[in-house]
Symmetry: C2
Subunit: 277 residues, 2 copies
């Protein structure tokens, strides 16, 4: 079994982006909205900040109190998206439970929507009129292409239909006309669908849920689900049993995660280029 090295791929993308950023001349800045205080969220934000700054992109974090109302937050974001210095804006998820998440995500106009999570960005993407891809879908596409794994004539199974992994990845394959199964909590005997899949993409956040005996021989397994287990980052896939069945696997950490950060910054650079035209 071959491990798909997302760390290495992301580093190559960062080198390309660094050249792009210095060619653009005008300063690029990513605004990051953070609501509340959470060590896990702070860690993710710090990772993005470090990666961005290493390629010459400024990051400005906008912290908000966890008790802020949906309306007040939307008003503040509407101001921040009009700040010309912010080339793009992301809203760090999850948001506190009382916030109307999609209403907040919709406050970002498509030309600054680096994560492509607003209704308008998603709509443009599904009809094939978007300049960028949702970062996780872009990351999976890059990994498949990097390792010359054909997907257009394969059957793909997606575990989970959440808005950060399952949904954007499903929309991408749907747009590409790829044969597809979406496995949710409602799926009876999910292994029947998994056994048919040449490529499995998991984004459910259940540690080591996917075992080797659920899979087709020589399947390609993309693990895009992460949970924390006693301070360690753990994927959806049990690497030990899967190693005996799969032909390819993305490790956690060092698989989909770093490429997703790279694609996020690539989206930002793409939006900066379009703005410059």
């Amino acid at each position: 079994m071959i491990l798909l090295d997302g760390k290495k791929l992301s580093e190559r993308i960062f080198v390309e982006l660094k050249a792009d950023v210095s060619a653009i001349k005008k300063k690029i800045r990513l605004g990051v909205i953070v609501v509340g205080k959470d060590p896990a969220i702070e860690k993710f934000v710090a990772q993005k900040k470090k990666a961005a700054e290493e390629i010459g992109i400024d990051v400005r974090v906008y912290p908000f109190d966890a008790a802020i109302t949906t309306n007040e937050l939307r008003k503040r974001i509407a101001e921040l998206v009009h700040e010309p210095k912010n080339t793009g804006i992301i809203i760090q998820l999850p948001l506190p439970g009382h916030i109307n998440k999609q209403y907040i995500l919709n406050a970002i106009p498509p030309e600054k929507d680096v994560d492509a999570l607003s209704a308008r960005a998603i709509g443009s993407f599904i009809v094939g009129k978007s300049n960028i891809m949702p970062p996780v879908a872009g990351a999976i596409k890059s990994l498949l292409e990097e390792y010359h794994i054909a997907y257009k004539n394969k059957h793909v199974a997606i575990l989970g239909a959440g808005n950060l992994v399952g949904r954007p990845v499903a929309l991408w394959f749907l747009q590409e006309g790829v044969s597809l199964s979406i496995i949710t909590q409602e799926t009876d005997l999910p292994e029947q669908l998994l056994h048919k899949a040449d490529i499995v993409i998991s984004g459910i956040g259940k540690p080591h849920f996917v075992k080797g005996d659920m899979l087709k021989d020589n399947a390609v397994i993309i693990d895009a689900g992460t949970s924390e287990s006693s301070g360690k980052l753990v994927g959806d896939v049990d690497p030990e049993s899967v190693a005996e069945k799969a032909s390819r696997l993305t490790p956690v950490p060092g698989g989909v995660g770093p490429v997703t950060v790279a694609m996020l910054l690539k989206n930002l650079v793409t939006l900066a280029k379009i703005k410059k035209r």
Copy 2:
């Protein structure tokens, strides 16, 4: 096997809509953009016009020459959507091959987009922020509800991923978190996926492609694909062999078709009500 009577259901929806329309007082008008001349298209437009007028809705058809350019058509539609008398606008598909279809569909603002085919309408729908459903998805939902067929905990197979049937129906089930397979031309051994499906929705336009032996016992079969065969409307499903396997089937004609027209007019009335507020 029970036939799901779409004709009867549509007639009941029309009665409700007629009452709604007369309660709204202000005249409701549907603008229909037709590009080129085609007897099949003219027949569909005439059906919609007749149904609309019977419930008190005006219809105005805007015919354009088949040779019109994408840019000229987009400019003309931009004018027509600003005409206050047009409560809603639809673009009769298919458009001639030289036209950039999605660019034209995107000319309709969400508040007048009765078919919900623009990027913005699709985006609002997939994030659960739309007041209307794509008509064919609304029709299938109505039929399932009318006949008390639960779908949330079932496995659904969709044949085809086109933008009029497969895609909007897939987006609806994806949003609802339903376990789902999307079968395309790339699917190897589609019967493996069909055999797992409690509900099958077909929208491929291949006459009598779906045979009984492809299906699970007692499956519910929704035939949303239509083709013309020697002047007769023919569905994707072979009713004879399917009758021996399925528990429920929508006939063609008289199944999904008339309910889709009813849902289109229901969308128009919903948009009129929102505008009135």
